[in-house]
Subunit: 286 residues, 2 copies
């Protein structure tokens, strides 16, 4: 078996590690515009060899995990390069523009639009973890546009690495993911910014920060190179979630200013039900 | 040795567990207006006996961990009831009003104003953890107002349970804690609210949520009974932090709307330095 991974970072590298564990005989070809990452991936035994687009013609499977702005440009070229029997999967955090970028491609049936809900705040090959996908959700969009036997090949590997599958259309994916992922990142980045700005001359103040602050600000460590194009591609949905979030914060602030602490309490009590909701979310192993 | 713990929840119960471990011969008296919590604390062997204010006269140490609105009413009565050689410490998340509530009390020198930066999003005696305080920061305010030999007694126990000590005045405490703790809680509660409101008819959508969402929304599980009075007592500082946070979110949203993704990237890059800052924060063991 030959598997190509394009973009050898946290997501692609973790996929490579899982595939290697399942199929020790596999040859994993790595492609990345960052030569240092490629060298690191070989040293870490995440990939077997470096390659280029020519390596895709006889690959059984190509996993593309690059920033979503690069994805829309590279995916058509990748599909041009693959063989008739090659399965191409992406791991992009947006789905509408990615699906559109290959909608009319003659090899559209070789492509499966995927978004693994897995990750950490770290990036690069050294962040790749065996078992990252275990117990996580894989969202698949427009599954009916992928050739049936390639669907089967994809599902077999996803199930083997422990993922649960959810099917969704690209528009619904982008709308909902703005709430449960993109907004979290922005809330965390701006929380970090607010505190850093205020406390820039008083670094000792961070001695006062506890695990609660650490938890809410964790995502502010995420890669701007990865997240900027996500916000760009999902602009309308992200702006909508931000407006609702800002409105809720403003209302909460006004309740405090009006000394309406009965409703401050009520707002928090109503949100406590997040406890039950979160029980269904698998945690990332650290 | 006799130690009284007033308010047997996460914070008081964890303190009791640590004291018991250090001094197995201690008698721990529990006081709580919630009889179920008291019974539970006895069953869990967190306290030895239930008591009332009469039990404080010959106590060596009294640890008061009740909501901060109750604290300002109860602390003077507690000081009335203690003996001349009893040390009283509070664990309130605000400090200015608490210090003011006992400023003129004849037994002010028996009191030490404390805020342990430790906790989880859970509450009640069953949430109490041995070792919760290990490696955490204890903020002490107005230390010069506490009798010297009682300071020594307090420091000995804090050091024995693994805490590092920071001294601060109550106003500075309340101002900075609004940034590194109170704002995190509100950002998390409102994030939870925004997502729950949007997705109330689509519970399956939470399948799309990953560990990033779980992390940013974790504090939205916190107790409204505990947090409402904190926001009330620290109203001015909390409103100020919220205004800055809302302003930062609004600016970020406008950058996205204007397609100024260069500055979107820059905002996130500038905030990435939170990585270095966070390295100093001890994590709560789960």
């Amino acid at each position: 078996m030959k598997v190509a991974v394009i973009g050898i970072g946290l997501i692609g590298g973790s996929f490579a590690r899982d595939v290697k564990k399942l199929h020790p005989e596999v040859t994993i070809v790595g492609l990345d515009k960052n030569q240092t990452h490629l060298d690191e991936a070989i040293e870490l035994q995440i990939i077997d060899v470096k390659g280029d687009l020519d390596a895709l013609a006889d690959a059984d499977m190509v996993y593309v995990s690059i920033p979503v702005n690069a994805m829309v440009h590279e995916l058509p070229k990748i599909l041009d390069a693959v063989g008739d029997d090659t399965l191409v999967m992406d791991a992009g955090s947006t789905k509408r523009l990615i699906c559109e970028s290959v909608a009319e491609h003659p090899k559209r049936r070789n492509f499966m639009a995927c978004h693994p809900i897995a990750g950490t705040e770290f990036s690069g090959p050294s962040a790749a973890l065996e078992g990252l996908y275990d117990g996580k959700t894989m969202i698949i969009c427009e599954v009916e546009k992928t050739a049936f036997k390639l669907q089967e090949r994809a599902l077999a590997i996803f199930q083997a690495i422990g993922m649960r599958i959810r099917y969704m259309n690209p528009e619904a994916h982008d709308k909902h993911i703005a709430y449960v992922s993109h907004l979290s990142h922005i809330s965390s980045f701006m929380l970090g910014k607010t505190v850093i700005e205020k406390e820039k001359n008083e670094r000792d103040i961070f001695d006062m920060a506890g695990s609660g602050f650490e938890s809410t600000v964790r995502l502010a460590k995420s890669s701007p190179d990865m997240w900027t194009p996500i916000f760009e591609q999902n602009k309308d949905n992200v702006v909508e979630t931000l407006e609702e979030y800002i409105q809720n914060l403003t209302t909460f602030k006004e309740l405090i200013q009006k000394n309406d602490f009965e409703n401050v309490h009520l707002e928090m009590s109503n949100t406590n039900k997040i406890k039950q909701i979160l029980k269904g979310i698998p945690l990332t192993k650290k």
